[in-house]
């Protein structure tokens, strides 16, 4: 049996928005911290880098799903925190429904057996 410790990045790309919204729904966060939170959530099977997060942060901000603010001075610099908005919470709920539907359908498509008349 092949052991595959890391999830395919091609496979997970479509779920990045949902992952970030889920993390922010549990508390405000910033780039470096979110990298670690996502590694923790996936039990180390998925790593995202800050560059990807920065791109998604801006895309979600543009859609009004998250907003940002600067925290207090820490270690000589001010962290930029992100916060989920009401629209973001609604989007996350919709994402979870869509994901459940897609997951069931893909499972059916990739494991189902055709009926032969």
């Amino acid at each position: 049996m092949t052991i595959r410790p890391d999830i395919s990045k091609d496979l997970i790309r479509g779920a990045t928005d949902g992952i970030i919204l889920n993390v922010l729904s549990q508390g405000d966060s910033y780039g470096y911290q979110m990298v670690q939170q996502i590694a923790e959530l996936s039990d180390g099977h998925y790593e995202i880098n800050e560059a990807t997060l920065y791109t998604v942060f801006r895309r979600l901000s543009k859609k009004g799903l998250i907003d940002s603010y600067y925290g207090s001075e820490t270690q000589g610099g001010r962290r930029k925190y992100y916060h989920i908005t009401e629209a973001g919470i609604t989007e996350l709920a919709q994402f979870r429904k869509d994901w459940q539907f897609a997951k069931n359908t893909i499972t059916q498509l990739t494991t189902g057996v055709l009926k032969h008349d």
Partner: protein, 360 residues
């Protein structure tokens, strides 16, 4: 405590090519704060020994900032948005060795516009699975360009293409070790003290207007082409394929099992070996001994008209012809040993098992 200046040393070159706006400054501050914290954690956990190493590792682990920078600065044009590009830069003082492994990738070695090493990947279409993986460990920069998966070739006319461009500054004096399974490696307009070692399973290696310290290349099946190229030594081992040299200056050590060696406007000295193939060597300037060993095939050597040299040409089953005014100690159908001019400065030696030798 991580110094702001240290962070800007590593971050500013990444931001340098983008317009300075309020948004880009805001993004810089955001990234700098994350780098500062990551670098401090690396120091605290002893994963980095110096602040410089910690910041470098933290910046490397950010990933490719091209996409967010293009998004923020509005420089991303719809025409190129389907292509993925990865861009990273390093100070040439910190990197002394570059190791490149690639499958089915085109690798271009070019001159850097500044004093930094830049690695850039162009991909079409954008595939995370074939994105170049870059790691640094001490003074080594390791670049891995994985091959696309089989199913990514299923769509006609949309086969994935990947090009990795490595830009080297003029003061770079390190080593490059490149291993390509299939693909092409080109070196263009690179002038520095690079010592390159290339292993290519199948594909081509082409050089145009380059001047490096040494090049050693092993090509299993493919082509080697060099135009306007100079190096202290050029060592080539091409199993099956052609070798074309035009205006090349070096100390040559060239061998091919089955293939042709063609050289025009050559400068230097060295040894050329072929098992079955033809060798044509037209010398502009010879500064040392030239030895040619061929098992079966024609050998034609043109020497500079003003030169004085000794020659020893022997064909076991073939003919030898010298079209220069020469004095001979041996002159028979299959051998010619003698001298051209009064003050010989080098030796030309040719051994051909079955073939014709022409010296002019």
């Amino acid at each position: 405590m991580i110094d702001d200046n240290l962070i800007s040393t590593f971050l500013k070159p990444i931001f340098a090519n983008y317009p300075q706006t309020d948004d880009s400054r805001d993004f810089y501050n955001e990234v700098a704060a994350d780098v500062r914290e990551a670098a401090q954690d690396l120091l605290d956990s002893n994963d980095a020994t110096t602040p410089e190493q910690a910041v470098k590792l933290a910046v490397d682990s950010l990933g490719d900032l091209t996409e967010p920078l293009q998004l923020i600065s509005g420089t991303q044009s719809p025409a190129i948005s389907q292509n993925s590009s990865a861009n990273s830069s390093w100070s040439a003082d910190l990197i002394t060795r570059i190791v490149m492994h690639a499958d089915e990738t085109k690798v271009n070695l070019v001159a850097s516009p500044d004093d930094q090493i830049h690695v850039h990947q162009y991909q079409q279409p954008k595939l995370a699975s074939t994105k170049v993986q870059i790691k640094t460990l001490e003074n080594t920069l390791s670049i891995e360009a994985p091959s696309p998966r089989w199913f990514q070739y299923l769509i006609p006319f949309r086969h994935p293409k990947s090009t990795v461009e490595i830009a080297l500054p003029s003061q770079f004096a390190g080593h490059l070790e490149a291993e390509l399974k299939s693909g092409t490696l080109s070196i263009e307009n690179v002038k520095n003290q690079l010592q390159a070692k290339v292993v290519l399973s199948s594909g081509s290696l082409s050089i145009n207007h380059a001047w490096i310290k040494t090049l050693s290349a092993q090509i299993n099946s493919g082509q080697f082409k060099a135009r306007h190229f100079a190096s202290n030594s050029l060592q080539l081992d091409v199993h099956t394929g052609t070798i074309q040299l035009s205006n090349v200056e070096s100390t040559f050590d060239i061998s091919t099992h089955s293939g042709t060696i063609k050289g025009n406007v050559l400068t230097g000295k060295g040894q050329f070996t072929a098992h079955s193939g033809a060798l044509f060597l037209d010398w502009q300037h010879v500064n040392g001994d030239v030895t040619v060993i061929n098992h079966s095939g024609t050998v034609k050597i043109q020497t500079p008209m003003k030169d004085s040299f000794k020659f020893d040409l022997q064909a076991k089953s073939g003919t030898v012809k010298v079209t220069r005014n020469a004095t001979y100690s041996v002159q028979v159908l299959g051998a010619a040993i003698g001298q051209v001019g009064d003050r010989p400065q080098y030796d030309v030696k040719v051994e051909d098992h079955s073939g014709t030798i022409r010296l002019s």
